[in-house]
Symmetry: C2
């Protein structure tokens, strides 16, 4: 029932729906209309119905959406039930913060290992994750393939590290390096967190809105 | 020359243009056509011309854009030349990482102070920024008003902290707490970094694209 060529905008709203529905579940709400869901999220009801129609039929005329069922279905669409595996490369301040605080498991990811080049952190364990020597990444990945690498290396090292990991079969990158990464492999996906884009958007808004 | 009601999508592209043009400057490129700029960014030339037309006339028929001038102009639009002031609230792993590594000054922000409740960090200095006791934030802000607060507190404390800071005059929030914050003040702007939305988008893409 899934349509082809679902737009980027729709895909980016899915995690927002998932987050909102998870919150509603936690608040004990069992059903919700597209109108109320839209109001909570600042989206029109027709936008919501149109988005969901890309993935099949959810909800029922006159009843609305069953919160738990819809939440689980969107979770399945997003792959939170798939047990993806990842490594984190670059255990500086940010890498450390993600290992300590980010709920990877809730997003459906197991953190199998972390890698760094600094003798001061190699051999340590951060929140149960062993920090290994980057020199060993090739051998390690051959025995432990992963879907995703979290890149928290310095910007200057980002493309080289990505190229190396792509050659070892990694196809997804969660990229915090503020560098737009390239690959000749069309199946490689880069998802970027650009902190400065976000702060500059806020800078614009406080001055202009 | 600036139009009213510039769309969210256009505003969100401005920091990307700024980043791309800064990169071009660093690479020594002095002018660029909308076609080439679009190719580098995965945007059509007509989209670029349409976006820029919201802010006046840049570029010249047959010459293209002067990279440095356009970069500086977009920087001005974004407010990187304004010397905004901010505080960071919550000096845990992520707050620490931002203070250590994020180039606030390049985005036009001075970090005036950080605040926390934990005796272990209050009184410390992180990358030149003094960490103060959250109990003193009211008095401190009265003497040192800021435009923005970076929220890196635990999710459970986020709304209370935001409410308190809003009552003290803070109007912009860079929100890392994964909680959608509310305010009855229409002039308050929240800019959210939702890490999990980003990772779930990647999760979808590696499974479906």
């Amino acid at each position: 029932m899934r349509k082809e060529n679902i737009s980027d905008a729709v895909i980016r709203r899915l995690p927002r729906y998932y987050r909102q529905l998870s919150d509603l579940r936690a608040r004990g709400i069992t059903r919700i209309s597209s109108l109320s869901l839209g109001r909570e999220m600042g989206i029109t009801a027709s936008q919501i119905r149109q988005d969901f129609s890309c993935f099949g039929e959810f909800g029922q005329q006159g009843y609305g959406y069953h919160v738990r069922e819809l939440c689980e279905e969107i979770g399945r669409i997003l792959g939170v039930d798939r047990d993806h595996h990842l490594i984190l490369v670059g255990v500086g301040h940010l890498g450390h913060a993600l290992l300590q605080n980010f709920p990877f498991a809730k997003c459906g990811f197991s953190v199998d290992a972390a890698f760094d080049t600094a003798p001061a952190v190699v051999g340590c364990t951060v929140n149960g994750v062993a920090v290994r020597d980057m020199d060993d990444v090739d051998e390690w990945l051959r025995g432990n393939p992963v879907d995703v690498a979290v890149l928290t290396v310095p910007r200057g090292a980002a493309q080289d590290v990505a190229d190396r990991l792509i050659s070892l079969g990694v196809r997804g990158f969660w990229n915090f390096t503020n560098l737009e990464l390239d690959s000749t492999h069309p199946e490689v996906k880069f998802e970027n967190i650009h902190f400065s884009d976000s702060l500059l958007t806020l800078s614009y808004r406080i001055a202009n809105d």
